[in-house]
């Protein structure tokens, strides 16, 4: 159940939480759907939570923009997981404003 609730929150961008401090990445997120003990463990692991920033990206992105990457052979090779560790990393570089953050 916890798993499902978190997925819903992530996929819809509905961050159903009490944020102790709100910023792009630095948020101690107390997800209501997560058990108290799990919250304690998650806070112990890291104070960072990228979901707020991710939601900003999803909101700002226009449909269809950045989809070209999905057709690139480098992406398809990486995505297929057929290679071993030597095929494990895909690095996309570009100058500011090139659209790196909005690739999909």
């Amino acid at each position: 159940m916890r798993y499902t609730a978190y997925l819903h929150s992530t996929n819809t961008g509905n961050v159903n939480s009490n944020n102790i401090r709100d910023s792009h990445n630095i948020t101690v997120n107390v997800n209501k759907a997560t058990a108290d003990g799990d919250q304690e463990v998650m806070r112990w692991l890291s104070p960072l939570d990228p979901r707020g920033r991710h939601q900003d990206v999803r909101t700002d992105r226009f449909d269809g923009v950045g989809t070209w990457l999905l057709e690139e052979k480098e992406f398809r090779g990486w995505r297929s997981m057929e290679g071993g560790a030597d095929k494990a990393v895909l690095f996309c570089h570009g100058n500011p404003g090139a659209g790196k953050t909005y690739l999909r």
Binding site: G84, C92, Y102
Partner: protein, 207 residues
């Protein structure tokens, strides 16, 4: 990228984790904290991983004052978490915004994870200047240069024009000219700016 990976209907077994590096949060975005938030995302995707984290946490609490996590602890836990999941994708955006020392630690840590779980897939983005660091640790990585695509700029403009609060003020001809000329010019300008002797970058359409 994360959404594309998550939304494929045939890929229910995959676990994804993402992080956005940010100049403004450099102090808090230590390698250990980045590893920690990746772990958090993987933990909620698999009950076994969360149980493992819980045991580690309880063990740490038994020590005087509660044991804080060091980077090697975090990397070891991430290795365990990744190994417990069938398929893992880790996406990290804007490596150039990471503190230089943290970036090196991050790449070393990710390399360690890959050595133990070579089926893990890591997606990285950053400005061209971090390519040397990335290829230092991942010499065989696939590299894709990103620049504005004519179709993307056109799509963006169409979207904006469709939401124009005063559509009657623009002629059909002007709209057609905007959609024809601007995407082409922007791409040309970008190529010149990014390959010229001085880096004069124009913020185009997505920030």
């Amino acid at each position: 990228m994360i959404d594309s990976l998550c939304n494929e209907p045939s890929e229910e077994g995959i676990a994804t984790a993402m992080f956005y590096c940010d100049f403004r949060d450099r102090q808090e975005q230590t390698t250990a904290n980045i590893m920690g938030t990746i772990l958090n995302q993987l933990a909620v995707r698999g009950g076994e991983v969360m149980e493992y984290m819980g045991r580690e946490f309880q063990q740490a609490k038994k020590e005087v004052g509660g044991r804080g996590l060091r980077l090697p602890d975090m990397v070891e836990m991430l290795k365990q978490a990744v190994a417990a999941l069938p398929r893992v994708f880790i996406c990290i955006d804007a490596l150039d915004e990471c503190h230089p020392q943290h970036l090196l630690d991050l790449l070393v840590s990710l390399k360690g994870v890959l050595q133990d779980s070579p089926r893990t897939r890591i997606f990285l983005t950053g400005r061209p200047q971090v390519e040397a660091q990335v290829t230092r640790y991942f010499p065989d990585c696939a590299i894709v240069p990103v620049s504005p695509r004519v179709d993307d700029v056109k799509r963006y403009l169409e979207n904006k024009l469709d939401r124009d609060p005063g559509p009657g003020e623009m002629s059909v001809r002007l709209r057609a000219d905007i959609l024809e000329i601007i995407p082409r010019r922007i791409s040309e300008m970008y190529v010149r700016a990014s390959t010229g002797p001085t880096s004069c970058i124009i913020l185009l359409y997505t920030g």
